[in-house]
């Protein structure tokens, strides 16, 4: 499939400090372990809402968000856990939200698909395909008008560029040189439908370029490369040169929606799945860090134990806090 990774940039990226790379690794591992915990405990019936896991796609979230300033903003989709966590979203309030609790990040109103943490710049997650893209562009318009210097990221998947509103948003952002970054995580499937059944055989980056938007294609499982291309995009946006489109090739390991693997359904081959698993974004960085003697197996164990304790604490918090009441359901209809 020519859409995948045929034109990934190969030029040298600025070498990141080992400490920073180790930090990226920890952040990706944290997302992986949080989502594995969700998958492991989903059947217990406490998390009573659809969950769209990002396992396999952690590099995009961390690589992009690490290139942003804390005051920059992101808008996400139904598959928002990784983006929320990578931008600093509160873990306790995330678990509470998925468990439908009043202490959830939106009070139990949205569940897993509507995570937000405004203080951390996770402005909203919107589960209608492409629906958050114009919102992100509007955010960038406001920032340009107010001269805040902030950048907004719109995260979305490969199917989003099939929606008209993506093109409407891209056209406007380009015309007005808005400080917005379009991050397209191409995981090759829209639910069960492969990319080649939905789109013609042409580089997705050309679609962005047709709107006069600078487009970059990066390995979506290489956090260092993603950080690099995003940093350049952020610089462009802050300097008034307008939007950048980043195409990041990656792969969703588990089912579109839910905690399980679904290769038995037959819509994708075991061989394809295994080939992407071999390109695991965490594994590749772990190997690199281990080879460079930055991460020993003892350190890895310590990191995992720390994250596991944090997850346990967040789950305990979610379990212990109360459900919202029927009276809560009718508040905040109008401001």
């Amino acid at each position: 499939m020519s859409n995948i990774a045929t034109m990934v940039r190969s030029q040298d990226v600025t070498t990141l400090g080992t400490e920073q790379l180790a930090d990226f690794y920890k952040k990706m591992l944290r997302i992986r372990l949080v989502e594995e915990a969700i998958a492991e405990h989903y059947a217990e019936g406490e998390m009573r809402c659809p969950v769209h896991l990002s396992i396999g796609q952690e590099a995009a979230a961390v690589g992009v968000c690490e290139a942003l300033a804390p005051s920059d903003k992101v808008y996400s989709t139904h598959r928002c856990h990784a983006h929320y966590l990578a931008k600093g979203g509160d873990l306790k309030r995330m678990f509470a939200e998925i468990c439908g609790k009043a202490a959830g990040c939106v009070g139990g109103r949205g569940g897993s698909m509507h995570l937000m943490d405004i203080e951390k710049g996770v402005m909203a997650s919107i589960p209608i395909v492409s629906s958050s893209i114009p919102i992100a562009v509007g955010s960038a318009l406001a920032d340009k008008r107010m001269r805040t210097g902030k950048v907004t990221v719109a995260f979305f998947g490969d199917a989003s560029i099939e929606e008209g509103v993506y093109h409407e948003s891209a056209n406007f952002a380009s015309r007005h040189k808005l400080p917005v970054i379009f991050v397209c995580e191409n995981n090759l499937y829209s639910v069960y439908t492969p990319l080649h059944e939905r789109q013609p055989d042409r580089p997705i980056t050309d679609v962005a370029r047709a709107h006069g938007i600078k487009a970059e294609h990066a390995d979506g499982n290489n956090v260092e490369q993603i950080f690099q291309v995003t940093s350049e995009a952020v610089e462009r946006a802050r300097s008034g040169y307008g939007p950048t489109f980043l195409l990041l090739d990656t792969y969703r390991w588990r089912e579109h929606c839910g905690p399980n693997f679904d290769n038995t359904l037959g819509y994708r081959s075991e061989a394809e799945f295994e080939s992407w698993k071999r390109r695991c974004p965490l594994e590749r960085l772990r190997t690199q860090l281990a080879n460079d003697s930055i991460l020993t197996s003892t350190q890895e164990d310590t990191i995992r134990a720390t994250i596991a304790a944090e997850i346990e604490e967040a789950r305990a918090f979610a379990r212990s806090t109360s459900l919202p009441t029927p009276q809560d359901a009718s508040t905040h209809v109008y401001a």
Partner: protein, 364 residues
């Protein structure tokens, strides 16, 4: 009308809207306007005349032909602290943006548990006339009135239009501001400067005791016209201008029907699934015992609007139709009814049916 006095200038509703925008924009730099064709010489019935020159293209932004994107971008800007106003030349174009209106404009405040608000005004033009036909002259207000989180307003009078638009722009919620194209030509006494008319619900605009007519927008004028001639034949009709469809405040309507015992509703759109159905249901539930007659709903028949003037005779619920309905409901005899109809006919003799009746010039 309580707003507007004899000392005020008489101007068109279109000018009143333009003043509403100007007053708001002059006071608050976070306001901006999106529209297609901001430089169009027709300037949206004059409502945007000179606005670009006064506020510049940073505030008055030419919107690409992309309605869903426009609403989404405006919602995003509103979340970020701006106060956008969007103008669509026809309500039909908002159908292209229904996803953003319903999913994001209406629900962002709710889903965010009150953390975000969406101060946004969406101006939509409904109406009729000059053979605009099935996709350029619909009245689709019930679609928007369906959704909690949206405010939906439909001014009928120039002074109210200006004050309500200022209130809408200053409101922290998404407000759908619906303008009937024929009302743009109507005139009224409109105060100068900045003032607000609250988005608080229906108002009695013609007092009476025999029947209550509840109407919206342009239909209010038809109802007032009918009430005037009915008064001549001794029938006293109360006309209520709905003004605000959502949030729905039925209290003034219920109080009026408790007094009159009779209810007639007029939709500018279809009768079925219309505003009238909601009003009749609310009133019947609240004041069933006080109803002296079955409520009547007027509005458009169950087919699209044809272009040819040959097919629209009787299509719109005009003052004649309203007079007939009131006489049926109240039990006015044929002689008095025909006298009222003759009086009406005398006033609108030889007028074509596809352009605004000069009666609606006002002032009211």
């Amino acid at each position: 009308m309580s707003i507007g006095t004899m000392e005020d200038r008489v101007i068109t509703l279109a000018d009143a809207i333009r003043e509403g925008i100007s007053e708001s924009f002059a006071r608050d730099n976070s306001t901006f306007l999106f529209a297609q064709g901001v430089a169009d010489p027709s300037s949206m019935w004059g409502t945007l005349k000179g606005i670009s020159e006064r506020f510049g293209d940073d505030r008055i932004i030419e919107m690409p032909v992309a309605e869903n994107g426009a609403i989404g971008i405006a919602v995003g800007a509103a979340i970020a602290g701006q106060r956008p106003v969007i103008s669509f030349h026809r309500v039909e174009f908002a159908l292209l943006a229904i996803e953003q209106i319903v999913n994001n404009a209406a629900k962002t405040h709710y889903i965010s548990n009150g953390q975000h608000s969406v101060p946004l005004v969406i101006r939509l033009v409904i109406g009729r006339g000059w053979g605009q036909g099935p996709e350029h002259s619909q009245s689709l207000e019930p679609i928007f009135a369906y959704f909690p989180g949206l405010k939906v307003v439909m001014p009928a009078f120039a002074a109210d239009a200006k004050g309500m638009l200022i209130s809408a722009i200053e409101d922290n919620n998404p407000v759908i501001f619906i303008e009937h194209r024929w009302l743009h030509y109507s005139t009224g006494a409109v105060p100068d400067g900045h003032y607000r008319c609250p988005l608080d619900g229906p108002k009695v605009v013609h007092e009476g005791t025999d029947a209550t007519i509840v109407a919206t927008s342009h239909s209010v004028l038809e109802a007032v016209r009918a009430a005037d001639v009915l008064k001549e034949v001794g029938c006293s009709v109360e006309v209520i201008d709905m003004r605000v469809l959502r949030p729905l405040n039925t209290q003034p309507i219920i109080e009026s029907v408790r007094k009159t015992g009779r209810l007639i509703t007029i939709d500018t759109g279809f009768v079925h699934y219309g505003i009238g159905g909601e009003i009749v249901a609310s009133v019947s539930s609240a004041a069933f015992q006080e109803l002296k007659a079955a409520p009547v709903r007027l509005g458009l028949p169950d087919h699209p609007t044809p272009s040819s003037r040959g097919m629209i005779a009787g299509f719109y619920p005009d003052a004649q139709g309203i007079v007939r309905s009131v006489c049926d409901v109240v039990g006015i005899d044929d002689v008095r009814r025909d006298a009222a109809l003759r009086s009406l006919a005398e006033r609108s003799k030889d007028l074509p049916i596809d352009v605004p009746d000069p009666f609606f010039k006002g002032p009211f």
